[in-house]
Symmetry: C2
Subunit: 547 residues, 2 copies
């Protein structure tokens, strides 16, 4: 029997319409590439987004077409999100930090028909334009009087000129909520980047869940500054969550240094932010050096990579800012878990609470997770056993764009598909998940698993160690055993045996590294992560003593 | 182009599964009809709900069948919500305060195949059983050793006996999210009661929205005691919202007096509650008389009828409890608006904030509203102009069960249907709605509208007035003019002219009542509301002086 409720699709255009109608004069403030601050309201943003949608459809963009962006966080990027998604086309955000060759590959793979870019990224556009024959126009997101000229880019269009061709009479179409609304490629550490294609439904449900008190806890009392880029998994959904709850938005543009951020926090009364740990290091450094405090900043979500416990404590103890540790991935829209205390934790000691807050956190309604062994048998939630982390939910992908990589899902006995995250994690009895390793890095020794991250964190605690990495190396009896790779601090001395002894009493005996190798440097990626693949190549011919 | 996200239906069973998996040992505490406290966990609740679903389907209940309840707030009622809804049948909650004849009419109209009841309501069951031939069994929600016997009820079944026949191997079926999940009849002040039929989709979306920080703001840090009955529009959705966020639940059963509630608040650490103003009057009275304070209670939602401003102040100033004024209706699942301050209000004076908090509040994402005149032209949001309040959204009905009353919707120029709430309201520039009257009570004088509620509230402020009602009476020139009907306080004296003069400077001149009539009593309904229909009948032959 069908129920008798109004049947209305969940559409991203509905979010912005809600904000324009019910929080019409709430502000969106943007620091532009030009350096100045631009201010307008949700009502303005919705009107201009409709105009842009009309202009794009007059230009021939139709349902399902991909329109790409290479842009910072700003109001024009927001308009593109809603104009393109709202009209039934697909907003494809590209990470400008990728190599131009990779960007061209992604543009062509996605089949983008237009690409809008901030002036900062004109050099990228100049480098790729000739290699992207599918792109009909390159839209410079600038005022008309700042429109660049480029001999290398045919069909260079001005954003404002384009938008002005659209009519404000345009009405958002009512489309299928399972239509594609957004496209974002994974960074692709192995093989080519793969595209996650979000639907209107997945985006709206994710925005609801992200705003919940146990998730981001976003409300119309907040002024939110998304430091996390809109080219990075939709800035964790904030361009959708903020208008859904009517929060004021402050977009920082290209200036993400500690001083610029701090000034914007103070001048706009920012209460809430979200970003990766490296950005917050810069901010903490600035406020400490300048000897200043935050007058409105109260909470921040930190994700992207594990937040150092010291950063959580520094924000809380020195600045009264609550850190919400979060975990997710491109394939998850991205939010999976966030770390907030539950009622039962409120009476625990501060140290016990801090231990919980260092975990990646608890799922929000809509995401389910489990940990499994290599035979996909479910493992216990005891906070100790670790296994491959699998997830499912209405904002988790079921496959990649154009079927790349085949069917990524793992099916359980009931035939339900689970997405393998590639992470190894523990889950405790209260449902809090903690990442212990990447699946491809974890060491499998005699059927048991050893966390390389745990061993590295311990080694870094030794006074003579500047950096440490642990990799698994072949062993005839145990399959794999841990090898500790060490960069010593300048002038410091420490021996192999001292380092191995340093683990005594800190980990189980069978976790202790079998050997130590001293190196000049450890290969790091662009984001500061250790490149374990390179390290494993480097030690390809290494043999354990006695093995 | 279709997106590529997992396609999972939004089902009520998914909410309880989420709670069982991720908040498995969070408690549900229930005061039972027997007087004792029952405690168990979300994992227990989910397991028993599955057992009950299996038992009911073995008993022949199938998809779309209606199963009714006459029950207080308690764990067995919660199990029925999820067992019946989760299996694809329809949980039909009935208000036991209705007259048995009305209840029998509703049971037959709904076509209920089973009816489960708390022992309190055995007399109702005995009165109606013979008149409800469709009901196959009457399920007493009691332990087996307390199972009642009744010569007047054939097929009296024990809840626990029934449940024990089900298997815990039962798996929740994956059904269409637009299937009916719940049924609730309006109180039916005019004509027969009409049924609102909720879907899985509407229920899950409503539960998401209800938990938002600007709505109820419910979280796993909360211990929630729903005073609002589960037979009254699903206790405002709390049996769905609480497990969605992992809040501890305390069900008060039949004991809703101030002392019993206070004791439960304290012994269970309740942080959050929800109910109608009359219940809170009793609680306030108790805590004041006993000279006690709340040690954990922080916030409460008050709705059902307008919350007196003095109650909002008393809770805040005397007890540090935040009152969240809310508005909705059976046809809206029920939440439409809730009243929380926005960022822009935080710097306003306490008096200005209090004025806002007295309004019914702001919509949550999912509900849209507008005010229109009698020709359905949209009226301005200036906080002064009032008009008929219309709503739409995925948890608003599109028609009543069995098509009763025809198509209730009003269509705008774009062909979109809006549900007319029957309320008259203002909306201010920030989107805050305030009910000023019922559509059928508002006085239409010379094309302008006069709020009877405003005039009554002013009259009650006069020291000689015990109660006041205002109705519109025919006028040859102005169509209608206000007549003030007054019950004087015992021993107090006041004249017609004094009362009319009392309005001077407080309302526009054309709002002032044309006449005053003194009566011994004003007809009140069961919930204390003035029965304006009766009052209008009573003054049917009355003529205005000079009219």
């Amino acid at each position: 029997m069908q129920g008798l409720m109004m049947d209305m699709p969940l559409l991203v255009s509905g979010i912005l319409q809600h904000a324009a109608r019910h929080y019409g004069d709430t502000e969106i403030v943007s620091r532009r590439v030009e350096g100045d601050l631009h201010r307008y309201t949700y009502a303005d943003c919705e009107r201009r987004s409709r105009q842009l949608a009309d202009a794009l459809s007059r230009d021939g963009v139709s349902i399902g077409d991909r329109v790409a962006t290479l842009a910072w966080n700003g109001y024009r990027h927001m308009e593109l999100y809603y104009a393109v998604g709202g009209m039934g086309a697909v907003i494809h955000t590209i990470n400008p930090r990728l190599h131009p060759e990779q960007i061209a590959w992604i543009v062509n793979h996605a089949g983008d028909v237009h690409l809008a870019f901030d002036l900062t990224f004109l050099p990228i556009v100049e480098a790729i334009a000739a290699h992207c024959p599918n792109v009909k126009s390159w839209i410079a997101m600038a005022d008309e009087d700042r429109q660049p000229a480029s001999a290398r880019v045919v069909n260079l269009v001005n954003y404002e000129t384009l938008l002005a061709r659209g009519s404000t009479d345009y009405r958002w179409p009512e489309i299928d909520e399972r239509s594609a609304a957004g496209l974002c490629y994974t960074s692709g550490t192995t093989g080519n980047p793969k595209g996650a294609m979000y639907t209107h439904r997945s985006t709206v449900l994710h925005a609801y869940a992200a705003a919940l008190p146990d998730a981001m806890g976003a409300s119309s009392r907040d002024c939110i500054l998304p430091v996390v880029p809109m080219f990075h998994v939709n800035a964790w959904g904030l361009p959708y969550t903020c208008p859904l709850v009517g929060a004021k938005i402050v977009f920082p543009g290209a200036q993400l240094d500690g001083k610029s951020l701090y000034e914007l926090f103070e001048s706009e009364g920012v209460t809430y932010s979200a970003g990766v740990p490296t950005v917050w290091l810069g901010l903490l450094q600035h406020v400490r050096q300048a000897g200043v405090k935050f007058s409105s900043f109260k909470r921040t979500v930190i994700g992207g990579s594990a937040c150092p416990p010291a950063m959580i404590r520094a924000f809380r103890d020195e600045f009264g800012v609550e850190v919400i540790h979060a975990w997710g991935m491109t394939e998850m829209s991205p939010l999976g878990t966030l770390c907030r205390l539950q009622n039962r934790h409120l009476r625990q000691s501060e140290a016990a609470q801090q231990k919980i807050l260092e975990k990646q956190g608890h799922v929000i309604f809509g995401v389910d997770m489990k940990i499994v062994d290599d035979e996909y048998r479910e493992l216990p939630w005891d906070g100790k056993t670790f296994g491959n982390l699998l997830v499912r939910g209405p904002w988790v992908i079921r496959e990649y764009f154009r079927g790349e990589g085949g069917d990524p899902l793992k099916y359980d006995a009931d035939g339900r598909g689970w997405f393998p995250t590639g992470d190894v994690a523990t889950i405790d009895a209260d449902g809090y998940m903690q990442i212990t390793d990447r699946s491809k890095d974890v060491i499998k020794s005699g059927g048991e698993w050893i966390s390389t991250i745990d061993l590295e964190n311990l080694a870094i605690g030794h006074p003579a160690v500047a950096n440490a990495a642990v990799i698994g190396v072949p062993h005839p009896k145990w399959d794999e055993r841990p090898l500790l790779v060490i960069v010593k601090k300048p002038g410091a001395e420490v021996t192999r045996d001292e380092l191995i002894a340093f683990y005594e009493g800190k980990v189980a005996r069978w976790w202790m590294p079998d050997d130590v190798q001293f190196v000049e440097s450890i290969p790091l990626g662009a984001t500061g992560k250790i490149l374990k693949t390179k390290l494993r190549e480097q030690f390809h011919d290494y043999r354990l003593p006695g093995a």
